[in-house]
């Protein structure tokens, strides 16, 4: 077994593909690594690098527990996970926004005011209960959060919720479901995260990778972002 490997957790899907592009630009080995393949671990013994291919929501967990030294994950996922990890670099790709959205008609009736909108029923459907709860708490707005696992835009139509909190990149899904953005929460891009212990005891090794990724993100971040 190869010991002393630096382990990087990568997300499956589009974000993972963009991450691989960045890793390649940073001079890290990625030959044969695929984020959509059946194989979930890829090891490069000579440079001592190993990749774990995980569900995006699991990346913070692998890093927090020390199963991975570094990880690439969207800020949206990271904020929801609430994991105790170090956030080292904004990699600049995978852009999306967290927003509060409501049915267009209800929004107009409420005079385009979030407080008025919440005067009646106060149910908010979301895949991101932690992010949603903290947004409304900070504003002193009491709401009932309903956690769903997908197709959040269906909730207002079905009468399950009055508002939704979701991520948008183009806003097309909102438009198709006659929903409008009523408040921005924050913007999200991919982040490089580190396990707090690994970062401290393998500092030299990790920072060389971190610096290479930082440089690559600075040069190629824009290019990667346009592939979204």
């Amino acid at each position: 077994m190869v010991t002393n490997l630096l382990t990087l957790a990568l997300p499956k899907g589009k974000l993972g593909q963009d991450a691989l592009q960045l890793l390649q630009a940073a001079g890290l080995p990625v030959e044969g690594v695929a984020t959509e393949a059946r194989q979930l671990t890829f090891t490069f013994p000579a440079p001592g690098i190993r990749y774990l291919i995980c569900r995006p929501t699991d990346v913070p967990t692998y890093v927090e527990y020390g199963a991975a030294d570094l990880g690439i994950v969207g800020k949206d996922t990271l904020a929801e996970a609430g994991a105790d990890v170090f956030e080292l670099v904004d990699l600049g790709f995978g852009y999306c926004r967290f927003v509060v959205a409501a049915p267009r008609e209800r929004w107009e009736e409420a005079g385009r005011s979030l407080e008025n909108l919440l005067a009646g029923s106060r149910r908010v459907a979301t895949k991101f209960p932690r992010v949603a709860a903290s947004f409304f708490q900070e504003r002193g707005l009491p709401v009932e959060i309903i956690k769903l696992h997908g197709n959040i835009e269906l909730a207002p139509r079905a009468g399950l919720a009055d508002l939704i909190v979701d991520i948008v990149s183009t806003g097309r899904t909102l438009k198709e479901n006659d929903l409008v953005e009523v408040a921005p929460i924050f913007s999200s891009t991919a982040r490089l995260i580190a396990n707090r212990v690994s970062y401290r005891i393998n500092y030299r090794r990790l920072t060389s990778v971190v610096e290479a990724l930082k440089r690559a993100a600075g040069q190629g971040g824009e290019k990667i972002a346009t592939t979204n």
């Binding site: 890093v63 927090e64 527990y65 020390g66 199963a67 609430g82 105790d84 170090f86 956030e87 080292l88 670099v89 904004d90 982040r191 580190a194 396990n195 707090r196 212990v197 690994s198 970062y199 401290r200 005891i201 393998n202 500092y203 920072t207």
Partner: protein
């Protein structure tokens, strides 16, 4: 038959089976012996006290972290979330007349309402020491050296202790003269090494040139003597200079004692920024995602109990240490006996003789034959002594 009682445990707590219980007790004894050999005497404080006692202490005593309940007089009590505040109370009351410095050690279960995860429980075991009344370099050196020895005694071979100095960060922030919300943001970002948030703060408050470089260095400085040199060059003429000189003296003394190979400097180690006042440290083991030990100087705590006095100390998480070691001691009764037979009086008599020699003895008055007793002894890894025909 189905049970009417709940068979599962609440989140964040666990049972310890014989092998784990044996390993934990063994570890606890080794640590207490280690503390004793350095002149630290064990104290025990109540499992619950008035909640305000803990709220005077570290963030472990913050509102959301406490398990609270109300007594019949309507007073708010809480299970202890850590041991430093109770020991500070003890020193300020029962031990107030004792000559300083006081060296006190403990091993206790503590309770925190945390999200359960690897090595982070809602009930866990801590062992640690407090050095009360020793200010300055000598106290810091003693505590850090004892932390190194404790980790070695715990059976860890590959561990490192990271040293920070919160007074350096406080000095640098003081010199920057930023608004309180910016300072709060910087503290939070430094403590969680959120370098992305720091970048945002640099931009928002137009921190450029030397001011920005100082903050960047606080977040990234790491290493040995060379890291201290770099820090001195950058912070030498700031409010942080004196505390940096103190950290250098501690480093030199520990290095001269041959402990340097276990140590590194990281000014980003802040622990609980507002609670600690000087040198802080954390112990790390490869492969474990959280520190196994942490401590530092907290010169402001005892004053809150009406007894102003410098203090420093550390605590080790026993479950985390066992997790880091990755093995448990076999809970065997190695070398013990199964004393079997039908004459119970004879069994008790023989068992007493064997126990007086320090041997563990299990009684078996149920086996109907020597063969049956032999099978039972073998299953438990015990020697058999059959009494009877």
């Amino acid at each position: 038959m189905a049970s009417n009682l709940p068979l599962q445990l609440p989140a964040g707590v666990s049972d310890l089976l014989p092998p784990e219980a044996a390993a934990l007790r063994q570890l606890e004894q080794r640590l207490l012996n280690c503390f004793r050999s350095w002149g630290y005497q064990e104290v025990m404080t109540p499992t619950f006290e008035f909640a305000t006692t803990f709220q005077a202490g570290s963030p472990a005593g913050e509102e959301g972290a406490l398990y609270k309940f109300i007594d019949r007089q309507g007073r708010v009590l809480a299970l202890r979330p850590e041991m430093t505040a109770p020991i500070a109370r003890l020193v300020a009351t029962s031990l107030r007349r004792r000559e300083l410095p006081l060296r006190l050690g403990y091993s206790a279960r503590v309770f925190r309402y945390e999200e359960p995860q690897a090595g982070r429980r809602r009930e866990f075991h801590q062992a640690g020491v407090e050095l009360i009344g020793a200010g300055g370099v000598a106290g810091d050196v003693e505590i850090i050296a004892l932390a190194v020895e404790s980790l070695a005694q715990a059976g860890l071979e590959d561990f490192r202790l990271g040293l920070g100095q919160v007074a350096v960060t406080k000095g640098v922030l003081q010199d920057l003269a930023l608004p309180p919300e910016a300072v709060a943001g910087i503290k939070s970002a430094l403590a969680s090494k959120d370098l992305v948030a720091l970048e945002r703060i640099y931009d928002e408050y137009h921190l450029e040139g030397e001011r920005r470089r100082r903050l960047e260095l606080l977040a990234t400085i790491h290493g040995g003597r060379e890291a201290l040199e770099e820090a001195r060059a950058c912070f030498g003429r700031t409010a942080a200079a004196a505390s940096l000189a103190e950290l250098s003296r501690v480093w030199e003394a520990l290095g001269a004692a041959g402990l340097e190979k276990w140590l590194f400097i990281d000014l980003g180690i802040l622990r609980d920024f507002d609670y600690y006042t000087g040198i802080v440290f954390e112990g790390y083991v490869p492969g474990l995602g959280a520190p196994v030990c942490g401590g530092g100087r907290y010169d402001g705590l005892l004053a809150q109990f009406g007894y102003p006095c410098p203090a420093t100390g550390f605590a080790l998480g026993l479950e985390r240490l066992l997790l880091a070691r990755g093995e448990t001691a076999p809970a065997s009764l190695a070398g013990g006996y199964l004393v079997a037979g039908r004459d119970l009086a004879a069994l008790l008599k023989r068992a007493r003789e064997l126990r007086s020699k320090g041997t563990a003895v299990v009684l078996d008055g149920e086996s109907r034959s020597r063969q049956e007793a032999a099978a039972r002894a073998a299953a438990r890894g015990l020697n058999l002594e059959w009494i009877g025909e």
